[in-house]
Amino acid sequence: MPASVRAIRDAVAARSVSAVEVCRAALDRIGAVDGALHAFLRVDAEAALGRAAEIDADADLRRKPLAGVPVALKDNLCTRGLATTAASRVLEGYDPPYDATVVGRLREAGAVIVGKTNCDEFAMGSSTENSAYGLTRNPWALDRTPGGSSGGSAAAVAARAVPLALGSDTGGSIRQPAALCGVVGFNPSYGRVSRYGLIAFASSLDQIGPIAASVGDAATCMNVIAGPDPRDSTCAPAAPEDFSAALTGEVKGVRIGVPRALVAQGSDPEVISAFDAAVATLAELGARIVDVALPHSAHAIAVYYLLTTAEASSNLARYDGVRYGHRAETATLAEMYERTRGAGFGLEVKRRVILGTYVLSAGYYDAYYVKAQQVRSLIRRDYEMAFEQVDAIALPTSPTPAFPLGERTSDPIRMYLADVFTVGANLAGLPAVSVPCGFSGALPLGLQLVGPAMHDAMVLGIADAYERVTPWSSRAPAIPPR
């Protein structure tokens, strides 16, 4: 049975294997591992097998770029006819009447959507422990988090249940779980992929991107999902690059910046040594390593939590029980709002809605929201200035490997620091990839590469060159039976 996105597609196109067989294999694998992992919130075997059969019966579909490829979707992506909850009680049983733009593009490209993956509620979290439907476990160590918020998607790919999954990234929610699960995760430039149909957390930072076992598979997915969308006004109107064509394996002369001061802050020693080794590998491949400074990065977490909570407090106002989702039956309107949202939202979501409401309140708006926007501009300028000297910036994806489940749930600040290396790219709207770069004991680590806005293909190109000469991406966990 072919394993990679490209191999599956080619085999299905050549009819050496049927899409139905591929789909059954994926469903079997999900059945075998998901009892231990709980990566999936919903698996729609019937619809998946039906679609696979359609592809097998249609020569045009079989030639499509993702023909027969099983795909898992983070549960904050709207799927017509398949419940979409964003891992929240407030959307329990919610059936969207439409497909997100990316979902439509995947379907058209011949992908077979097998199910929806677990995540932190409304993508708010770094461990997938904030799901209303139970946590997800890391395939490399079942007592540890897969990271978050796209933990289900990363775990599903790491467990080789599906070759490709989509996640969303607001402050590292694709890259951090990809790193912690030993797979590739890509956060595209803001505006490169349409957000239409992505349940919003923080609109000015949210991006959808692929999680795959290799950079090549992530690039294949990007070729399908990227590009202008008339339904998303923040989506860039320019035609996207050919992401696969950019994977030449060549990094000679590419200048890679390393912000040493930032990396040293709060990272585990194993993380730093794996990172140094990865940078050395890039240098051996002919890349030029340059020191860069990102002086305002120290404020990135604070800015991130001010702006994302502000936007979230407004984005989540629609969950009021009036039109869809959970509704508390009460005597008065005010009670309906209070009890619908009180029962529908989890603790972390409430914390962020309250925080964001405060940030936007009269009297605090200038001190918090406006100030945070100003610092966001400074952070963006840091990157712009760095990119005058270098083509990309290398960072660890996460300061630590996967942490034990439960370790940080009662300490939100410590949980928030898991995003210290990833939020910068979102605040500046930059493309950033995480590619496996070694292990700390049995736990995978990730190398992050950040590029200038709309230079997504180049970032993937560097990651691919690194991946070709290292063994990390090809390692898969042995999942112990539960």
Binding site: T84, P97, R195, A200, S233, T234, V322, L360, S361, A362
Partner: protein, 481 residues
């Protein structure tokens, strides 16, 4: 003495085919929730896309009002919870509106005055809560989202209006402009034009503003006037009694002819405005504004001045005829075809509008076309029919839809110039009215008119009045003293 200070906030629905952030129709009168989609229902994941036509109409309104249109304006979220507000926020504009400044000329009591404008901005309408009409309306409210996302402009005046009459005049002039440029249909009954007023009074000569109230639900010129008259009187009475006006929102109740307190504004609403992250800033190029400016139709004020100057109409007539673009073009078409502007104006303002208003019919659906009315005027001007006959012909045209010439021919209404026939009728009338003739000779000359009238009546109003006059006078002068 107290001085009134009034500022108006007017919401006008823009005349677009589709909503401001989605492709749903703006049509009204359809069953609830038939023009809805993920965007205007605020479904998870849906995103707004700005309707270019809405921007065009809003910009045209701003140009017509002399505002400065900003090259960059920003949409903002106004956050509040209400069942008819599907996203929990309204997409509006806040600190960077589409346009600022501008003014509108009003004239009350023969005095023209410029009223300054603060701003014009774009926003979306909310849905509509339905509190009655369903079997379970005692326990539940329902919401119709057909109106959710309909494009609006909000126009805010400076607090420079000093009487209820001025406010009503401002509202009316503003409506004429919006209708003239095709930005809005100005239909107040269906809610496409709505007015709120900020009202305060202060002792004459004071410069500080008094505490204001906000009056809602002023959806006709008459309501604006009556509501403000009531409110100004109420506030004055409160102050004269040594009381204090409360900063609050009040609702106009036309049935009770008074305003009611709705909610206090002492604790200011906090809408937590912030820039809408789902929409990039709205950028407008100068060249585009200039193209819109060039394509603007003539505004009511300019048209009124032109009617006075080129048709020689009195101010008043010009004002009436330019009240709506449809009426103005009806007049211009009639005047051009008839070659007689004054007569066209008289017929339209007298007979035609009289009948139309009586029957509640708009000029667009007048049963007499401008060319048909012009035919009638030409028949009078050429002497084919007399003035009194013309009125009868007009009435027949209105009810039957037939042409003036056809009616005149069919009913033999052409003017009688036959002197012999008229002379015989005059002789008969004088013989039958000996007393009036005697009185005339005794010096009571006004019986002349009576006798002429008798002759006209005897000839069904068709006789040439000049000839009748001449022959009656001659008969009286020649007759026995």
């Amino acid at each position: 003495m107290y001085e009134s200070v009034i500022g108006l906030e007017i919401h006008a629905q823009l005349l677009t085919q589709s909503k401001i952030f989605c492709g749903c129709s703006t049509r009204t009168g359809d069953p609830p929730n038939t023009h809805v989609c993920p965007v205007c229902l605020g479904l998870p994941g849906a995103l707004p896309v700005l309707n270019r036509r809405a921007v065009e109409l809003a910009a045209q309104a701003a140009i017509a009002l002399g505002c400065t249109i900003h090259p960059t304006s920003v949409f903002a979220r106004k956050n509040y919870f209400y069942p008819d507000l599907p996203k929990g926020y309204q997409i509006s504009q806040y600190d960077r509106p589409l346009a600022t400044g501008g003014s509108l000329q009003i004239a009350t009591g023969g005095l023209a005055r410029e009223i300054g404008l603060i701003r014009v901005h774009l926003e979306e309408d909310a849905g509509k809560s339905l509190h009655e009409g369903f079997p379970d309306s005692d326990r539940f409210a329902r919401v119709d989202f057909n109106r959710s996302g309909v494009p609006l402009i909000e126009i805010v005046s400076r607090p420079e209006l000093h009487s209820a009459a001025e406010a009503a005049e401002f509202f009316s002039r503003l409506r004429s402009i919006l209708v003239a440029i095709g930005a809005s249909d100005g239909n107040m009954e269906e809610g496409s034009l709505r007015c709120d007023a900020n009202v305060s009074v202060r002792p004459g000569g004071a410069t500080a503003m008094g505490v204001k109230t906000e009056i809602k639900n002023l959806n006709s010129f008459r309501y604006v006037q009556r509501a403000l008259e009531f409110e100004l009187e109420r506030q004055t009475a409160v102050l004269e009694d040594g009381g204090r006006v409360i900063h609050e929102t009040r609702l106009w109740d036309p049935a009770a002819n008074r305003t009611h307190p709705m909610r206090s504004k002492e604790a200011a609403d906090d809408y937590r405005y912030f820039p809408e992250p789902d929409l990039p800033p709205l950028r407008i190029e100068d060249a585009w504004i200039e193209r819109l400016r060039a394509s603007l139709p003539e505004l009511p004020d300019a048209r009124r001045r032109r009617f006075v100057a080129s048709y020689g109409l009195p101010e008043y007539d010009a004002g009436v005829l330019t009240a709506s673009p449809a009426l103005a073009s009806y007049f211009e078409a009639t005047a051009a075809a008839a070659g007689n502007a004054k007569a066209a104006s008289n017929w339209i303002m007298g007979e035609l509008l009289g009948l139309l208003n009586e029957r509640g019919i708009g000029i667009e659906r007048a049963p007499i076309a401008p060319s048909a009315l012009a035919d009638l005027i030409r028949l009078v001007d050429s002497g084919t029919i007399s003035g009194p006959t013309a009125k009868a012909v007009f009435a027949a045209m209105y009810t039957s839809g037939r042409g003036a010439r056809a009616i005149v021919d069919a009913e033999g209404l052409a003017r009688v110039d036959d002197e012999a026939l008229i002379a015989r009728t005059v002789a008969g009338v004088l013989a039958a009215n000996e007393r009036a003739v005697r009185q005339y000779h005794e010096g009571k000359r006004q019986t002349f008119g009576f006798l002429v009238g008798q002759v006209m009546t005897a000839m069904q109003g068709r006789a040439n009045t000049e000839i009748v006059n001449r022959l009656v006078r001659r008969a009286l002068e020649e007759g026995p003293a």
